[in-house]
């Protein structure tokens, strides 16, 4: 039997030394722990559908230039731009608000560096894989060259969304490792929009990790928009820890590519915490998108609500794997998970797998998953009123995700999402 390939040691040689010593040490430890590990294969349950799209050649291991020139983002409001994982203050527009600090890793003092190292150390998304193969989100810990530490003191409210633009330049092969740490104090509020974009069409990997730590009563909205180029292998991880009565809301809109993977892991650690996770994915051509979510109810009386929709056209492949884990002490948990999928062609594939693991005896936990196609009767009804077949299909396909797009609380993101969706429809419904 063919053995799985190892993670090339070329991936464990980080670039960029302009970091506080604590972070350099942490990165070194992480790299050591990843040496000699195997890459996931299709027999690795967690990578069953996506392993074949992983292309981690030595060429991909090289660092991408942090000084590449990029245009300032066309966004009015607070922005932080990262180019290939390195913060670029000169094209950013930081908010200046009492109680809010946004610092790049390279400028952290000893105390803040210790905080950053602590947050990375207890990261929930960053634990060794049980299977013995490498957990690729750990690679971020071995390779980050810079990063952002965002801190909100208690009772601080950011009045507008903060856009974090992740720009990857694909003018040659390589990889980038952005890292974002967000620590939100008691009763503070923040909306972060992460926008993943790229330029160039060489084969690159973006291995990104973002972590939110919500103190009691904190309220965070995280929006994630993924419009990178076809050749980008995107491996994204979002980890969330929630304390008492905190609220976390996530909206993600993803467009497919050669490999898109997003792991979202939420831990409801304090009583009365709640999260709401919405996700929309569209894929076409031979694109691939793999969403894995985990919601852990650790404390009692927490609510989670999850709604994901996938649309796959042509010969593309979309995957949803949603896990809800209710711990023994998490009595009175209330968890709802819904995943609906729309196949636009016979050649497209969608796999959905809800997983429930429940150890408490007094919980409400509901889940549902469906896969369907556009309804001929509905198309006939619309077309019989004079709509073109294309318009009818667009309306019906939009109807499938409208509810989720409309809920995105930032207008600029809704507009970007709709532009992307219209491009998707232009490709997906070409006839007539």
């Amino acid at each position: 039997m063919k053995t799985a390939p190892m993670l090339s040691s070329a991936f464990l040689q980080p670039a960029g030394q302009a970091l506080p010593t604590t972070l350099l040490a942490l990165r070194f430890d992480r790299a050591s722990s990843l040496a000699d590990l195997l890459l996931p294969t299709r027999r690795t349950e967690n990578w069953k559908y996506s392993a074949k799209h992983l292309k981690l050649t030595d060429e991909m291991a090289s660092s991408l230039p942090s000084d590449a020139s990029v245009e300032a983002a066309d966004i009015s409001g607070y922005t932080v731009v990262l180019v290939n994982g390195v913060v670029r203050p000169e094209v950013s527009n930081y908010p200046s608000i009492e109680g809010l600090s946004i610092q790049r890793f390279s400028e952290l003092d000893v105390d803040d560096a210790a905080l950053a190292a602590d947050l990375i150390g207890k990261s929930i998304s960053d634990q060794p894989a049980k299977s013995g193969s490498v957990n690729l989100s750990q690679l971020n810990g071995a390779r980050f060259e810079d990063g952002l530490l965002i801190q909100l003191k208690p009772n601080t409210v950011l009045d507008q969304p903060l856009f974090v633009i992740h720009h990857t330049t694909a003018s040659h092969s390589g990889s980038a490792y952005p890292r974002i740490l967000v620590a939100v104090g008691r009763n503070s509020q923040l909306t972060v929009v992460e926008d993943y974009v790229s330029s160039g069409d060489c084969s690159v990997m973006v291995n990104t990790t973002t972590e939110f730590n919500l103190d009691d009563g904190a309220n965070v909205t995280s929006i994630r928009l993924n419009t990178e180029g076809q050749a980008v292998q995107h491996m994204g991880t979002t980890g969330v820890r929630q304390q008492r009565s905190s609220r976390f809301e996530s909206h993600s809109v993803g467009f497919g590519g050669t490999l898109r993977r997003h792991d979202l892991h939420v831990r409801l650690e304090g009583e009365g915490a709640e999260c709401k996770l919405n996700g929309v994915v569209v894929t076409q051509g031979t694109q691939h998108y793999d969403n894995h979510t985990t919601i852990e109810h650790v404390a009692a009386n927490c609510n989670s609500e999850e709604t994901y929709r996938n649309i796959a056209a042509d010969k593309s492949h979309a995957i949803f794997n949603g896990r809800i884990h209710i711990h023994q002490d998490a009595q009175k948990s209330n968890a709802n998970m819904s995943n609906k999928n729309l196949l636009l062609t016979n050649g497209a594939e969608i796999d959905t797998k809800p997983e429930l693991e429940i150890y408490a005896d007094d919980v409400k936990c509901a889940h549902g998953a469906t896969i369907g196609r556009l309804d001929d009767e509905s198309i006939f009804y619309l077309v019989s009123r004079g709509l073109s077949r294309r318009d009818a299909k667009v309306l019906l396909t939009m109807a499938f995700i409208n509810e989720l797009v409309d809920q995105i609380p930032v207008e600029q993101v809704r507009e970007s999402a709709n532009i992307g969706l219209n491009q998707f429809f232009d490709q997906a419904f070409q006839e007539v």
Partner: protein
């Protein structure tokens, strides 16, 4: 205006229409009655262009254009309108957005400029009042959660908005209470126009008390076996279909 000649059609290999011949002049209203399974709804679906049905022979001309050569949406733009027996519910698409897209598709076909949202809203509100639908329905999903009567009124509202040349009403009276029947009938009567023809498919004479047709036809086994004036409907109501030498409804159903 409408000329149907020797129309044959089948669905899933089963022959349903066996040579329909029908001439309708501009301004006329024709009622088509007949037992279940006689082909009434098939006729309406075939005229509107449902691809689930195959036309095996015959011709259909509307103002000289052969409808059978046109795709469903082209027929609609040339003025064919079918009020569905069972209007489809489409959650997530607002009625308003759907109707405006339809009206603008029609206007584009006739080289007219798009109606903007405000203009359209004004028009839609007026028309919804005509069929006694609360304008709040415009903002809801297409037919989503509408009662049977509301769906039928929504169909008539669409006809009033789209101003077709040929309106086919497929059992628009079914499932309506007396008040709703009155509202829908008023809507249909408002549709009557010198340059429009209307086909009403119905089981019941009661609709014809409100909308008096110029002709009544009886369809059985995919053919028109008897035609007459409005009085024919009264005769059918009194005697059933048996006297015409066809199986009655219960038998035909089997």
């Amino acid at each position: 205006m409408l000329s149907i000649k020797n129309l044959h059609a089948c669905v899933e290999g089963k022959q349903i229409l066996n040579g329909i011949n029908l001439e309708i002049k501009a301004g006329e209203v024709h009622a088509i009655m007949g037992p279940n399974g006689s082909g009434k709804s098939t006729l309406s679906q075939v005229l509107a262009g449902n691809e689930a049905f195959d036309v095996t022979a015959g011709e259909v001309f509307l103002n000289g254009d052969n409808l059978l050569d046109l795709a469903t949406e082209e027929r609609a733009r040339e003025g064919v309108f079918l009020a569905f027996q069972y209007p489809v519910e489409i959650p997530g698409v607002s009625n308003l957005q759907f109707l405006r897209t339809a009206v603008n598709a029609m206007r584009k076909h006739h080289s007219k400029e798009d109606m903007n949202a405000a203009e359209f809203m004004k028009l839609a509100k007026e028309v919804s009042k005509q069929v006694d639908l609360d304008p709040a329905f415009l903002k809801r999903g297409v037919n989503e959660g509408f009662s049977g009567g509301e769906k039928k009124r929504n169909e008539i509202m669409q006809a009033l908005l789209l101003q077709p040349k040929l309106a086919i009403l497929d059992e628009t009276d079914s499932g309506l209470d007396i008040d709703a029947l009155k509202v829908v009938s008023d809507g249909v009567n408002a549709l009557r126009a010198p340059d429009r023809c209307i086909i009403m498919i119905t089981h019941y004479q009661r609709l014809l008390d409100h909308i008096v047709p110029d002709y009544v036809h009886v369809l059985a086994d995919g053919k028109i076996i008897k035609s007459g004036s409005a009085e024919l409907a009264l005769e059918l109501e009194a005697k059933g279909y048996g006297w015409l030498g066809i199986k009655d409804e219960a038998v035909a159903n089997q």
